[in-house]
């Protein structure tokens, strides 16, 4: 594989690397807050990937101001729309995960998921 491809698609390369970093943090870290940060890195990587796909260099954002209606004047707006939807989803997930974390912390006074699981095992189901 020619290595120049990686450089030519720099945004995509970075996005995939960030995605890998994000999901490793989400799965491997034991601290809940770090897990949430990993989740956000993972989601942001996908948004970078999407946004870079829709961008065509030299063109403008698809908002008609000066009466220019040719398609060739603007970038592809669909990925931007997808990113916006995705951001809403990831914000709500972050909120839910933080709420769960608060609840777990109040109960067990730790953020370590393995420790919490150990403590919970001793309780009555």
């Amino acid at each position: 594989m020619p290595w120049s491809l990686l450089y030519e698609n720099l945004e995509q390369t970075v996005a995939v690397i960030l995605f890998g970093i994000g999901f490793s943090i989400l799965l491997l870290q034991r601290n809940l807050i770090r897990k949430i940060i990993g989740l956000n890195i993972m989601d942001t990587a996908v948004y970078l990937f999407l946004a870079s796909m829709g961008y065509i260099s030299g063109r403008k954002a698809p908002i008609v101001v000066d009466g220019v209606t040719e398609v060739t004047a603007y970038i592809n707006p669909i990925p931007a729309g997808l990113v916006l939807t995705g951001i809403v989803v990831s914000v709500s997930f972050t909120a839910i995960m933080l709420a769960l974390t608060v609840r777990l912390y109040r109960r067990y006074h730790t953020l370590d998921i393995d420790e919490i699981a150990m403590l919970a095992r001793g309780e009555d189901a």
Binding site: L27, L39, V46, L50, L82, T85, L100, Y108, A125
Partner: protein, 498 residues
């Protein structure tokens, strides 16, 4: 276009609108409203099914003002209508029989919030069944994940909190993979609607350009959905979540929501990529191996459980294995068997969770098997229902489970080679294991309780709950005896499902 053509759209809209309005109502009103909405959706879906049986082919339904390659649309066919009818029926029955259990977990002021989540979960399931657009799939999968998280976490208990945290982490990982897959697929094809997507994918396969990324996309989306539907090596989150959730939520989650992910996967295979490409990429073989492993190992894990709820949760893992084995066989007959298993398992598993809770309830809220001795006498209807559901799980003739195993065996035999041997061996072994733990449970609920166990008096199960459980028991028997028309709907529906 007649009024009936709009019914799937109406039912989706009805669920979402009910979700919004329920937020201002009191517990009692919102409970009645939710039951009415789910009942209405059931009727509308049944009418849609009747309509699609009269039509030759499925029809697309435009959402909004823009036609196909630009706007969003849903597609209504026999298979979709059958699944919507089946799932809403299961949901209706679970809610009637189990709503009052949820009341003991949720406070009176917050009960309307629980109802919102039920409405949203049903809306998401319906959208996932009907939609024709891949990004809509992503959005509603996330809505379904949030709704199911809320349905479980109403039970404020350490075990439930830990289970739901694990659940969320695995599901977020799965969503990430799915979203990345969808983004890459959009990158190489430029489409999100399934009909133009399939044309673009066929072009990729013919020309050979971007074949590598296409493989990655298939792997990412399959892995994402497999994690979310608790396929065997990724099932880690499932048993605790199902076991420690309130019984209605467990019935909805394991019965309906996990099936919706699998339906999306089947849709992705058939309507986006095309089954030939999936087979040539050897994805089906992977699913087959995971399915068989899940059938065996899920059952072995179920045998080793001492808590009856965890046993049933592990048997879910085994039953999802049957679905994936059917998909992995890779023939039309195999997928038909898998689709039928989705309906049967939805009905049986929700019954099992609900009747188990009744049995636990009359045993002083204790879940270990030796406390459950004699529970079948203390609550006779629940005992009978549990026994019948267990028989279906084992695959005794005249129940739905038997037809599933029969069809899986037939589709395996038709292939030959090592697949035939594997299918037959896996079916035999898992039937044996199923009978070990389910018959053991049935025997133990009819055994004489130890004399030093004192069971407190509990309020009797209301008549309507018993009647509902019996009706759904008849449904399971119907799936066993009258399976022919349903199988024919699945068969003809799958032919046009492309």
């Amino acid at each position: 276009m007649t009024l009936v053509h709009n019914f799937p759209f109406f039912s989706i809209l009805l669920c979402m609108a009910a979700g919004i309005f329920t937020s201002v109502f009191k517990a009692r009103v919102s409970k009645i409203l939710t039951l009415m909405v789910v009942g209405t959706v059931l009727v509308l879906s049944a009418l849609t099914l009747r309509l699609t049986l009269q039509l030759e082919d499925a029809y697309p339904f435009m959402m909004g003002h823009f036609p196909a390659p630009w706007g969003n649309e849903i597609r209504i066919g026999r298979l979709e209508a059958l699944m919507a009818t089946g799932f809403s029926a299961v949901m209706f029955i679970s809610l009637i029989a189990g709503f009052r259990h949820a009341e003991s977990f949720v406070s009176e002021q917050k009960f309307n919030l629980y109802c919102i989540m039920v409405d949203l979960a049903l809306a998401a399931v319906l959208v996932l069944i009907f939609t024709n657009d891949l990004f809509t799939v992503y959005v509603f999968i996330e809505i379904m994940t949030i709704a199911s998280c809320a349905l479980v976490v109403v039970r404020q208990n350490g075990h439930t909190l830990v289970a739901i945290t694990r659940y969320m982490i695995m599901h977020l990982f799965g969503s990430g993979l799915l979203l990345m897959g969808i983004a890459m697929l959009y990158g190489i094809t430029g489409h999100l609607l399934m009909v133009p997507l399939k044309e673009a994918v066929q072009q990729i396969v013919e020309t050979g350009n971007h074949l590598g990324p296409l493989t990655v996309v298939i792997a990412l989306i399959t892995a994402g959905l497999a994690i979310k539907s608790a396929m065997f090596p990724f099932h880690g989150w499932a048993p605790d979540t199902y076991a420690f959730a309130p019984p209605v939520s467990a019935a909805i989650l394991s019965g309906i929501i996990s099936k919706a992910y699998i339906f999306v996967l089947i849709k992705f295979f058939y309507r986006v990529i095309g089954l030939e490409v999936i087979i040539s990429q050897q994805i089906t073989q992977f699913l087959f191996v995971c399915g068989v492993a899940g059938m065996i190992i899920g059952s072995i894990m179920a045998i080793s459980q001492r808590d009856i709820r965890r046993m049933i949760a592990y048997s879910s893992v085994a039953q999802i294995g049957y679905i994936y084995m059917g998909l992995g066989i890779g023939t039309r007959a195999g997928v038909e068997a898998a689709l039928f298993q989705m309906l049967v398992h939805a009905a049986v598993k929700s019954l099992l969770f609900l009747s188990t809770y009744e049995l636990i309830n009359v045993s002083g809220d204790r879940k270990r098997f030796h406390y459950l001795h004699g529970a079948g006498y203390r609550n006779v209807p629940a005992g009978i229902v549990f026994t019948l559901a267990a028989m279906s799980m084992v695959g005794i003739p005249f129940t739905g489970g038997f037809i599933v195993k029969l069809n899986l065996a037939i589709s395996g035999i038709a292939i030959g080679g090592w697949v035939r041997v594997m299918v037959l061996l896996a079916l035999a072994l898992s039937t044996l294991l199923n009978s070990v733990y389910f018959l053991h449970t049935v025997v133990s609920i009819y055994r004489k309780p130890a004399e030093d166990h004192i069971y407190p008096e509990t309020p009797k199960m209301p008549a309507y709950a018993g009647v509902t459980l019996f009706v759904s028991m008849l449904l399971v028997v119907y799936l066993g005896i009258g399976s022919e028309p349903i199988l024919r709907v699945i068969e003809t529906g799958l032919k046009t499902f492309s």
